[in-house]
């Protein structure tokens, strides 16, 4: 019973991390119509930023720096690498994104070396909850992820910019002809996605306190899986998919006989869901234009 409870709380908090990363994938896909496979590596850049700024001894400064650096990086990558390809074939954009991913990983290895570095942002300790031992960091992660998701939902639903984002995701050309600055909206989307990636990087470090050049790859691909399970392009879908995947991962890890197969179970889940429901939980069927 206690194991299940602590696996569930761990799963929800891991799910919150996946959801924050998945939101970046899904928003960029919905609005810029591209799969940004370099998104996971933004997490890594956030991780190294925290590692460097932690030399000052201030976690808050490190977090703020990570957000600023990630947002700047996301916006610059969009401007330099993706914007010139607007209107190019989706394959060209996809390959470029993969190229950016390797570029960032290699740059990190050149600057920081290939050996992983330890970084302790903050020691949270544990609490006992209904007999189960729970990491306080997991509860903080869960709380922040929930607040971020609620804030983003309100932002999309109620602000003019949010409405403009939805319009761009439905029909970029028509939105532009309604006076919406499409390039500005796309830049903002990358900025929001990158800020969420920076936060996800922080919480990832609270769970596993090492940074390396490839640290973003696995959470990146897991979050992408979560976005697809939830229905890529759908914001609530990314949240749902992220939480679902985090729960599956955490529960699977807590059962010794299947623990080694956890990654395989998660990716198999993706295959099964794509077979049963190709649009994911909340994805919309693309209507073909005649």
């Amino acid at each position: 019973m206690e194991e299940i409870l602590s696996a569930l709380i761990g799963g929800l908090s891991l799910g919150g991390i996946y959801a924050m990363i998945a939101l970046g994938y899904t928003m960029v896909y919905g609005i810029a119509k591209m799969l940004n496979f370099a998104h996971g590596d933004i997490i890594m850049v956030g991780g190294y930023t925290i590692y460097v700024v932690m030399a000052t001894g201030s976690p808050l400064l490190a977090i703020a720096a990570a957000v600023v650096v990630c947002v700047a990086l996301g916006v610059v990558v969009e401007k330099l690498a993706y914007k010139p390809l607007r209107g190019a074939s989706p394959l060209a954009v996809l390959i470029t994104a993969i190229g950016v991913s390797y570029l960032l990983q290699s740059l990190a290895q050149i600057v920081f070396g290939s050996a992983p570095k330890m970084v302790t942002v903050y020691q949270f300790g544990t609490v006992t909850f209904l007999g189960a031992t729970v990491q306080v960091s997991a509860l903080v992660t869960l709380a922040v992820a929930a607040a971020v998701m609620a804030g983003l939902t309100l932002f999309i639903k109620y602000t003019r910019v949010g409405r403009a984002m939805l319009a761009v995701s439905e029909d970029r050309g028509a939105a532009q002809l309604m006076g919406i600055d499409v390039n500005g909206i796309i830049t903002l989307t990358f900025a929001i996605g990158s800020a969420l990636a920076a936060l996800a990087g922080l919480f990832y470090l609270l769970k596993a306190p090492t940074v390396s050049g490839t640290m973003g790859a696995m959470p990146g691909i897991k979050a992408f899986t979560a976005a697809v399970i939830g229905g890529i392009g759908s914001i609530p879908g990314a949240m749902l998919g992220g939480i679902a995947l985090g729960l599956v991962e955490s529960v699977s890890y807590s059962f010794a006989p299947i623990a080694p197969y956890t990654d395989a179970i998660e990716f198999s889940l993706l295959i099964v869901i794509l077979l049963v429901r190709p649009t994911g939980f909340l994805g919309r069927k693309r209507r073909e234009k005649v």
Binding site: T159, R160, L166, E170, A174, A175, R284
Partner: protein, 256 residues
Amino acid sequence: MSGYILETKKLGISFGGLTAAQDVDLRIPKEGIYGLIGPNGAGKTTIFNLLTGVYQPTTGQVLLDGQDLTGLGPDKICRLGLARTFQNIRLFNNMTVVRNVMVGLQNRPEYACSVIESVLRLPRHRRVEGQMRQRAKDLLRIFGLEEDRNALACSLPYGKQRKLEIARALATDPKVLLLDEPAAGMNPHETEDLANTIRQIRDDFGMTILLIEHDMRFVADLCDQVTVLNFGTILAQGSTQTVLQDPAVIKAYIGG
């Protein structure tokens, strides 16, 4: 001032070796209904795309109320007062009818509201949203769409979708409204109804309307003046009655 609200001078575009429009001089007077007609492939929609910044002209310029629009992007041009509908309807299908109109409204300065106020739904946000919703409802009423305001745009029947596109364009507060085949696919009754609505928009808003249409009866009935395009150049222009009786125009349409 030239006295024309929308003017093009020697407007032209070529795609590779193909000249899709050449030396097009349009002069659209204020507060009237102006037709742009011509056989299939004459370059009518190309002209709309040039006017609204979807295409950048190879030659010539576009002037709106004396202001040069040449080289500006579609969003800028819309905010300067040129709004349009599309030959193949392009609504925001998964939004409700009223939200489609609100997307058109939201760039108006009177509906400005900061992100913080909107996220927290502070009084200012509620007030502005309420005003916007009311304005959207008023616009929808003109088109008989008020009752459908909470339906998804994609669930509307075809004729209503066409009208919603016009309402959305009108919501951007344009100086000139461009309608690309507004009566396409409508039955004679709906067409008649649409003609009355377009007249009402001209009168109530003092609007200038430039429309592309194939239905000659609709054009003859509605437009004060027309320009006939053929192979990307102007074949004839002037008052509707005169132009439609021009032998060269009849020949271009019937072929021969």
